[in-house]
Point group: C2
Amino acid sequence: MKVAVLMMMLATAAQAQKTMLVMHGGAGTITRSSMSPDMEKQYRETLEQALRAGHAVLAKGGTSLDAVETSIRILEDSPLFNAGKGSVFTHDGRNEMDAAIMDGSNKKAGSVAGLTIVKNPISAARAVMEKSTHVMLAGRGAELFATQAGLEIVDPSYFWTERRWKALQNELVKEQGKPVSHLDIPDEKKFGTVGAAALDQSGNLAAGTSTGGTSNKRWGRIGDSPVIGAGTYASNDSVAVSCTGAGEFFIRWTVAYDIAALVKYRGMTVEQAGNEVIHKKLEAVPGADGGAIILDAKGNFAMPFNSEGMYRGWVGGDGIPHVLIYKD
Amino acid sequence: MKVAVLMMMLATAAQAQKTMLVMHGGAGTITRSSMSPDMEKQYRETLEQALRAGHAVLAKGGTSLDAVETSIRILEDSPLFNAGKGSVFTHDGRNEMDAAIMDGSNKKAGSVAGLTIVKNPISAARAVMEKSTHVMLAGRGAELFATQAGLEIVDPSYFWTERRWKALQNELVKEQGKPVSHLDIPDEKKFGTVGAAALDQSGNLAAGTSTGGTSNKRWGRIGDSPVIGAGTYASNDSVAVSCTGAGEFFIRWTVAYDIAALVKYRGMTVEQAGNEVIHKKLEAVPGADGGAIILDAKGNFAMPFNSEGMYRGWVGGDGIPHVLIYKD
């Protein structure tokens, strides 16, 4: 009896160590010289807080889905990241948010685009997955659904922040007189999309992504974050992935699922697959800046990016959060 | 001199023979017993007309992109197919259309969702690709863009057809009292999404898809058609794909890009890759009905479907259109 209990305890301990949570808070032109010590401290602390909250879910046997949602909500509630509260502005001066979540155990997915009144878009994505017959909802319809699903609704002014408003004004000045041509290379844009990938004690993967999109976006633009296979993907048979970057390229290169396919069909490691897509393929394309977090069902993870920096971090079974920002 | 001219003529003839256009007009419960001879004749004639129009573009050296757009516009203008004029109704009694187009030579893509006033959604998708900085636009913003791009705008009543209106009323009666649960298996739904994949004389692939979505869809639902990698994909290094079916599953299984990945990473033929995804993977999932057309850069094509029928056809360099409807 005692031996059985001991073995159960050991097994539980071994399982608990297997959990992993990887997060990003966006990739872009993030350099040491452009970051004040105080700003850096704020980013680190918020990312650590999100990692700890997600880890707490996993440590007590919660699902990877819960860990992803919990940790992303914290970054959405912070004005630091381009998601939820800190979302950038559209060309018309609005905040329109996209998000997606995917359950690797059954490939169920939920996704929302163009939300303007839902406090936590990642929770709206999850509600779509669990409470609707659909996978992807957009605009007023998605907002009506989120309201009916009981999610917290806020006035659009909740998402107004001075920093993002000024950024839009700068861009509007810069683009005056310029034609709106295809594939303008983003100029000094800091993609602050947030995302998480988690592995729970049952061995299930999940991934989620939430974003305000690209500053100065137009015409109801939808980016890669809510596009399953582009910015977000999870399947236990391969990997959980969340991307950040110049979304148009991530859609065209089907980045999240391409990484999964390289793992599944070519037997690549998470590191090899991440390098192949983020470095080899996307670096060959001018403007295709960004990165991804990739996690497999054994807890192996990679965080490749081809920009100057990417807010990123992870926490394993020991519960100690690790945060990185720059390339070096 | 004469020999050189002769060789040029031969080379031109060889090139012209290489062109291929494959189309679908939707998969679903299409059986001989449910189809009147007159209806069948109408479907065949319209598909042949679309194939001929696309072939004419390719035969005179036009691009695969032009062939895809031209042939899809004909099906959009017909009330027979669930795209453009024949689009199904949403739960709220509206017609909301999605479309996407992708250029295999450079992976450029354009996509629109939730259009209610643009006569030809496939042309709106192409305008997004060629005239905007974005890949995917939705709702009012997409309509504003399409209007500015000079596309033909119609009153929403243009899309009203008695057949689709009655279909919605039947569904509304059927679902009375039933909970809106996740993953209801569609009951006798005929997915009439249309799509095309083309190979031009320069060896470039393109694919496009256009749809009214699922009858009785809610809350601004976006299906797989406008999702690059799900319902639509094209790249010269693998294949051009357009899908039709229960879109939610096609998004979750990243069907179009999964087929491309199997060709690219596993060296499968279009037939093998199509079977693997449409038959093996999706047939194991209740409700995941539908099909795809797949075309590679050598002109090999496949048209797998796991439903009872799929409107489909092809035309090669000889200009003779072939149309099939049923499984046998």
